[in-house]
């Protein structure tokens, strides 16, 4: 609207940023290493086909399980009013933004011999890995489907009931088809996350089971077989791009139907038997999601079998030789990096969102897909790509601290875009016309109309970006320098060291990180716009 130059600039900044800090590094590493022989190796000689197969089926299974666990909770949150509803919604989101290291640690503690769930005999393997994946992604289902569900007009179900449909029939014939797109969208996001799972697989699965992402790590980092790693990365990206393209298309369609939906909350207090259903679902979900967190926090105040705050005290001391700096510095680093990363992500992602939301079409859909791509690209590929691509002036950033927030912002941008695009799309274009007719020049229109209305979405995106950056592990692992570790890096270093106090410190830092991310999520909840299609 503010002329062609402005539009080009708005598109150029995010594309440039992603181009330099994502596309170029990834293309560099793949382009440099990929050979036809490696592709042949992957599929024929080296028997790596089973890795692709395992990646696929575990993602499908984990997605199904996540829906099974998440849909009842989504229903209860959407349809019933109960004390602490908002808190519950925030609480459900906490696992989603927790660092993998923390979650994997929590489940290791639960499943290990002597742990609360040791009787399952799931110490390491596919089962605990799936449980952790479900644990991570329940939030996606509850938030996306629950959000949509709470805006569905219950009168439609009433209409079906009046026309003679039973409760179940009305659900199947009316509610379910209407929920379909939201369920599909949530399922595709869960699928995306589980398809590219890294940390939980690496830490919880047995060595016989590897996803593509883990195999890329093994081949690239540990065996230095870059051609094979590049081939695997390519296979993974093709799958992810296909999925993202479908999702972008679906989202555009959903933005249209969104207006048909009454944007009002249809929740009410549960009556009679419903009370038991609500209590049961809430109880089970809270136990599943809260149990591991409680165990983790409990473990942090037990050092060597007795209750003690020694681990927390040790965090503040400068004498730790595991890190080069006091652990409290890692907290400061993490907060600083996350804040900077979130600022970058909001600016870059915000500009991109404006472009994507303003003109639907093939070009913007491609841009949308590109911006989502970092979610589905292996950290190894990006990390090695940084090393290979950013090695020349003016971009020799390899040893620079700024690379950490940049890498984190690349991962955080998709979350900003997903929060902001629906908000901007939902703005009535006549508001902009009205502002123009009242004398507002184009740039002023943006400032007076789009920005304030989308402000809450921006805030939500900013909060998610902070949470995601705080927990980011994969990419940070490659770019963080020893004198400026982040909390997840510090946790992994503590875990890698012998001694009860080191393990205790890992738990303590995990607990701190959990509390910080929880606080961020709760803050998001305070300002969140009730809208569709956001995470």
């Amino acid at each position: 609207m503010s002329g062609r130059a402005g539009r080009v600039l708005r598109a150029a900044i995010p594309l440039g940023f992603l181009g330099v800090f994502f596309v170029w590094p990834v293309a560099a590493i793949i382009g440099r290493s990929l050979t036809a022989g490696a592709l042949h190796d992957v599929f024929v000689d080296r028997g790596l086909r089973h890795v692709a197969w395992f990646t696929l089926w575990q993602a499908v299974a984990a997605t199904g399980l996540t829906l099974a666990v998440g849909l009842p909770a989504a229903y209860v949150v959407a349809r019933y009013e109960f004390p602490g509803r908002r808190l519950f919604r925030a609480f459900v989101t906490v696992p989603f933004v927790l660092p993998t290291v923390v979650v994997a640690t929590a489940f290791l503690v639960l499943f290990r011999p002597g742990g609360a769930l040791s009787f399952l005999g799931w110490q390491r393997g596919v089962a605990p890995m799936m449980v952790a994946e479900v644990f991570f992604n329940v939030a996606v289902v509850v938030r996306m489907v629950g959000g949509f569900w709470s805006n569905l007009d219950p009168h439609r179900t009433d209409a079906a009931r009046v026309l003679g449909a039973s409760r179940g029939r009305a659900f199947r014939e009316v509610t379910l088809p209407l929920l379909g797109p939201a369920i599909m969208a949530a399922a595709s996001i869960v699928f995306l996350f589980t398809f590219t799972a890294f940390g939980v697989v690496l830490l919880l699965a047995d060595p016989a089971h590897a996803t593509l992402e883990v195999e890329i790590y093994r081949q690239g980092v540990q065996l230095f077989d870059l051609p094979v790693a590049a081939a695997l990365a390519l296979v993974q990206m093709v799958g992810v791009v296909a999925l993202l393209a479908t999702m972008a298309r679906m989202q555009e369609r959903r933005a249209v139907t969104q207006r048909l939906v009454a944007a009002r909350d249809a929740a009410r207090r549960p009556r009679g038997g419903e009370r038991w259903v609500v209590a049961g679902v809430l109880g089970a979900t809270t136990l599943f999601l809260g149990g591991p967190l409680v165990v983790l926090a409990g473990e942090s105040v037990r050092v060597g079998g007795s209750w003690s705050l020694a681990a927390y005290r040790a965090l503040g001391s400068a004498s730790t030789d595991t890190l080069f700096v006091p652990a409290s510095d890692a907290l400061v680093n993490s907060l600083g990096f996350a804040a900077l990363a979130a600022c970058i992500a909001v600016v870059v992602g915000g500009l991109a969102s404006v472009v994507i939301a303003s003109r639907p079409g093939r070009a913007t859909r491609a841009m949308d897909t590109l911006l989502m791509l970092p979610l589905g690209t292996s950290a190894v590929t990006v990390g090695f790509g940084f090393l290979v691509a950013l090695d020349r002036w003016p971009l020799d950033l390899r040893a620079k601290t700024i690379l950490v927030p940049i890498a984190q912002s690349v991962v955080a941008i998709p979350f900003v875009v997903r929060a902001v695009v629906p908000a901007i799309r939902s703005i009535d274009p006549r508001l902009r016309d009205a502002a123009a007719l009242l004398g507002a020049p184009p740039r002023r229109v943006w400032r007076e109309v789009d920005l304030p209305i989308a402000l809450r979405a921006f805030t939500v995106g900013f909060g998610f970006a902070i949470a995601v950056s705080l927990g980011e592990f994969g990419a940070t692992l490659f770019v963080a320098r020893p004198d400026s570790p982040t909390i997840p890096i510090a946790i992994s270093r503590f875990l890698a060291r012998p001694g009860a106090l080191n393990v205790g410190q890992a738990m303590a830092m995990s607990t701190i990180l959990m509390v910080v991310t929880g606080a961020v999520v709760l803050a998001i909840e305070q300002v969140r716009v009730r809208q569709l299609g956001e995470l």
Binding site: L431, D433, A434, L437, L438, P441, E448, P452, L455
Partner: protein
Amino acid sequence: MLAVERALVRFGTASAVDGVDLEVGAGETVAVLGPSGCGKTTLLRAIAGLQPLDAGQVTWNGDDLAGVPAHRRRFGLMFQEYALFPHRDVGGNVAFGLRMAGVNRTERDRRVGEVLDLVGLGALRDRRVAQLSGGEQQRVALARTLAVEPRLLMLDEPLGALDRPWRERLLGEFRELLDRTGLPAIYVTHDHDEAFALADRVVVMRAGRVVQAGPPADVWSRPADPWTAAFLGFAPPVPARCTAGGVETPWGVLPVGVSGDGRVQVVLRPDALRLDPSGPIAAKVSRCSFAGEHADLEVDAGGPAIRLRVPYRDAPDVGDIVALAVEPDGVLVYPAD
């Protein structure tokens, strides 16, 4: 003042506005009347500068406005469903244009109060717009448009979303307002009663084209074609033939001065027939419905049913045979298709 010449707006291959001419003189209120989808909103947007013209031009006092963006035209447009800013309260909405114009705060506050008083909403200044009723929102939208003292006022279906009592009340207020301010205005509506009640001149649009323009009385008494007549609520046309004594219709020969002979179509204006014991047409009352001080009759005089409105106290009973007299001026004759 405003002149639109041969305006053309295309969406893909379809023309939403197709060679429209329109003039609005000083202090004149022009109603653009047409069914939904006829291009009237697009025409407004083109005048406002929100929609570029594919051909033709919009001028103000002879100056071409092609290079003037919407925010510099100083035209006020009140949107259908108002487009109030949800993130600002009533005062904030009304003050918006003044802020854009750089009016200082004191002056702004004064002016906002003044305009809100004008529309009778002085007390609701700090209210959030979502908390207002439809009629109140409409007045806020009007106040917001008027606050900047536009040189042209455009209203897009301003009463469309309102309940009947509000509509009638606001229609009167609009009229008074337009008279008082002397603003040239374009009033877009699909409701001919509104258009006739308010406008100095009515422009009827159909499928992007102007089919008729003129004072309300002219448009009503002489619709340009059967479609316009039907749009104004007149009965559907019936086939007829010109004869020496008038036109021959299924109800007999109606005494209308026509020349030539051949096939034509006839539309009866609602005032074409009246109850008259000495009238030449005999008809049987098949339905009589109560409409306040009037009764709407449907009578059978052989041929298609005829509708007419009579004072309630004169209403016959269903089944009565009545005699009808013809008002020749009310018989509209159009060429056959």
